[in-house]
Symmetry: C2
Subunit: 306 residues, 2 copies
């Protein structure tokens, strides 16, 4: 019912990072695509199986040093239901290897509809007399624009199944301020108000490290807000995108951590997945290159945490 499991894995690996699994077919090693297209055809199934094979290699290279993966739904939906099957297989494989899985879906809706998303991604569905877990991630990113009606169904499942959520608070993109930085009557910016809702929503999901099961997404590209929110939201764990390809550095994310060196997990996707391109090594070594970059990132970030 909290994010304890994630924090525990971060402590065990001494690595507060998460590897984003956002596979882009055009950037995948040719040998992976060739094999998948040969076996499954040059179509949605072959594309989707390429994504899974790529992810499997990354997970094998990372699972003992990186505590978590964050598959981004969009890159799987892009290849239809076949892509969603690749997402499902990716989650199952990462969990089999002991990794914490955050599905980045930014889902949002209300009532029974939000319950359906919660069951799909974190819970179980009843079919006939038995229960099946469709995607079975450990945590899900969500969008809080619809208010408590959109979050309450998740809280129920987080309680029942020991799962967590991350609510978008201050996103890493350049235009995030269009709405999120707007000042409300009284002077509080929208993102800070959303953060205060996270504290409230998390009250019934407290964890042993002081952080609840309701986390927040706060971008590495806004270090001042990250530091400020760390102080204002003492029970809200942060998922921090924007390190690496989006321009955030280790000094930028340091403010997301508390005096005990916890409180945040830093995501990098492209810089890890496509490290082999940056290195210029053989594409067959893409997984080893990803591991080298994950280690570099871990050391870079831990050096900046007190």
């Amino acid at each position: 019912m909290s994010l304890d499991l994630l924090i525990k894995k971060i402590k065990e690996t001494n690595n507060p990072t998460v590897a984003g699994l956002d596979p882009d077919l055009q950037k995948l090693p040719e040998f992976i695509k060739a094999a998948a297209f040969k076996e499954y055809g040059v179509g949605l199934e072959g594309a989707a199986e390429s994504l899974f094979a790529f992810n499997k290699g990354l997970i094998d290279a990372l699972y003992d040093i990186v505590p978590a993966v964050k598959p981004q739904c969009a890159y799987y939906e892009k290849y239809g239901w076949q892509g969603m099957r690749a997402l499902s297989k990716t989650i199952a494989y990462a969990k089999e290897k002991g990794m914490f899985v955050i599905t980045d879906g930014k889902r949002n809706d209300i009532g029974t509809t939000m319950e359906a998303y919660a069951s799909a991604h974190l819970g179980a569905v009843k079919i006939g007399g038995s229960e099946v877990e469709p995607f079975a991630a450990d945590a899900l990113t969500v969008n809080g624009y619809l208010g408590t009606d959109g979050i309450a169904p998740l809280i129920k499942i987080c309680q029942a199944k020991d799962k967590g959520i991350f609510v978008l608070v201050k996103t890493s993109n350049p235009s995030s301020g269009e709405l999120q930085d707007k000042l409300l009557d009284g002077g509080t910016p929208v993102y800070e108000y959303m953060g205060s809702l996270c504290e409230k929503w998390g009250e019934s999901l407290s964890g042993t490290y002081g952080y609840s099961g309701v986390g927040a997404v706060v971008g590495a590209t806004y270090p001042e807000q990250l530091t400020e929110l760390r102080e204002k939201l003492p029970h809200t764990f942060f998922l921090v995108p924007g390190y690496g390809a989006q321009g955030g550095g280790a000094a930028d994310v340091a403010g997301g951590f508390d005096q005990n060196g916890i409180g945040a997990v830093i995501n990098a996707s492209r810089s890890i997945m496509y490290a082999y391109k940056k290195e210029g090594c053989d594409e067959k070594d893409y997984a080893a290159a990803a591991r080298r970059e994950a280690i570099r990132m871990r050391d870079d970030i831990t050096a900046h945490i007190s």
Copy 2:
């Protein structure tokens, strides 16, 4: 690049409504589930095929009198990738029958990730040398919390493929006001500001009826705001949930239409899908009951439009 196709179909059928396809396995007629479970097994596939069989019956009963359907992603994701396959089949079948399809996914992200969602639901993906359309709906609901970075990738695809989007502005749920009704510095509520962004985002997607390709979701349960927004957002077409099961009536939605009787499409899901339960008729007549309710709803709403 606009919502002209939807408006044209509304005019042809003289029916400004959309049937929500949010199938809940527990509420489906037993004969449908029995047949699907027998053929596909009592598991995710059997459940998913039940949803599709149910939808097919509804579409057959509605396609000549209702211009559009709105499948809600959550109810398909609930049954894993097999459910997403049922979504894909539902969209294809509705389009084959000439209906306009709005995928209710409330998707949101930024940059290349949002491009992936846009390609998945409205556009095409390149695999090998050819293009495939994974879900191929006509419009998609989206959440604008991330600002222009999350909308721009959709605009490109709406232009290229003649598609539309609906941005969440004022949702129908009780807690929608927690953020959406908050007053910004200067006195504008958040929902109105989001509406003004829709007008801006739609500028490059103008249509022949005066409405752009960027619509807004505004709930039937907030009739005052609906009327107010109709005046303030003259180029923004409204998708109006909340009629029927959520408590909105025809008088409540009347304010969403302009002086020409267009400008909105009213959604009902449960009241149409499960009309057979309310009527108490044989479950085998569920589709005929849905048609009767769709006609009642059409007549109810058109009687309230000038």
